[in-house]
Subunit: 254 residues, 2 copies
Amino acid sequence: MRHERSLAGGAKRRASDGKSSAYEPPCGSCEVREIGICDALSSAEIARLEAIKTTTRLRPGDVILREGEPADHLFNVKKGAIKVYKLLADGRCQITSFLFPGDFLGLAHDQNYAFTAEALTDVEACRFARTQYEAVVQACPTLERRLLATASNELVAAQDQMLLLGRKSATEKVASFLLMLSKRAVKRGEPASPITLPMKRADISDYLGLTIETVSRVLTRLKKSGVIRILNPGRIDLLRPSALSDLAAGPGGA
Amino acid sequence: MRHERSLAGGAKRRASDGKSSAYEPPCGSCEVREIGICDALSSAEIARLEAIKTTTRLRPGDVILREGEPADHLFNVKKGAIKVYKLLADGRCQITSFLFPGDFLGLAHDQNYAFTAEALTDVEACRFARTQYEAVVQACPTLERRLLATASNELVAAQDQMLLLGRKSATEKVASFLLMLSKRAVKRGEPASPITLPMKRADISDYLGLTIETVSRVLTRLKKSGVIRILNPGRIDLLRPSALSDLAAGPGGA
DNA sequence: CCCCATTCTTGATCCAGATCAAAAGGCGGG
DNA sequence: CCCGCCTTTTGATCTGGATCAAGAATGGGG
């Protein structure tokens, strides 16, 4: 029951507790402004959002929101990494996405969240009460369009992930995963090659529909074949990205 | 190369060809009005949509839109069933969703479609040019909100499907699938129990990340254990839905 | 009504990845 | 600097579902 651990670790301090925070960074100097949902908002719109914004800080293992609970907050990730997952009754876990700076969290059509979100590292995020947020959305067509675009993007990503989970081999899955991390790092202005893996092997396997052991074995194989290099902390050097692409796509480039 | 078959069958007549259609049913008498995206639109808004609407009719195997092509149309399904899928280079296929009356098709944030959609049965759908549709959306906040709600719903469904693909056993997958079909049938006013399966075994396996043989074996087992009954055409009787739910959830109800 | 093509079921065997088991790192705390 | 815990790697074995291979329904066209 792999998850009892992290839940136990994280349940102590709920995100919702820290409504007030030591320091409220202004939106004007937001580091993720141009890659997040706030991009393309007018300064008047930003001001309206800023008025209802709270900054949340979390530590590894903290649960930000839990499946089944009332969906009454929305978040913008500013720093750190988050895993979003669903559990089966017996503890099996499927991570549906990892969130990084600039990502949006909390879209849920239902009354309740359909998933759990948990910090992997120290996290800083903007937090909005849903009711207030919706009021702002009503008044800002730009924001609503931005939300729709975000949802569409997530949908496309979800479809890619379904293809991966349903039809790719272990090697293809791991290769695709590394490339995805690299691409997303680039999108937020980080280098493509020594990528940072803020998550454990267990998280990678819960994301790819594999076991820890299989993920480890595939990484070892990639390392031995000179495609990647595994650096000390959670960092991996993509030595031959094109080889990785070939592996990710599988045969058929015949 | 399983798909060459269906593509061959469908490529003859593209949906986009039949811009004009023999008969344009008015929105006022639309059968799926209250379960589709048009629900909750004012009659003025409906009129604006109706003005730019075309009715498309398709036959089994017809491709409605293809991955990679410019995403310049949106659809509302009125009759029939559609499969939405992605392919790998070597022909492996993952169906990401089945569409039924009332469902929306065409959300794509990118310039191009990220998936292919193909009719499973005779299909009737409303078709809108994207540019015109977007103009209407701009003017109708209700419609935009409805689109966002639809996208959110799809996202939740996609997450469920990821859990299924990544972590469920073959039996759990098939049981979940049958229950999903039943639930959706109810939602559009059909009975819960003798459900109609408009798709072939190959489609079910491409949806569940299994092979045809495994799907067939699981169905046989469910039949032999008295949980379902397989009726002649593509119909299945859910004799013991609660047993099916137990199977779908897996162990853990311990 | 029969024929042929397609789909579905069933059986036999195989294998990628799971499971079980244990050693080897890494790292924070004392 | 050492200890103990957690994570990762590696090895041995097992198994659920894939693959390979026939049959048995089904159904549409002539």
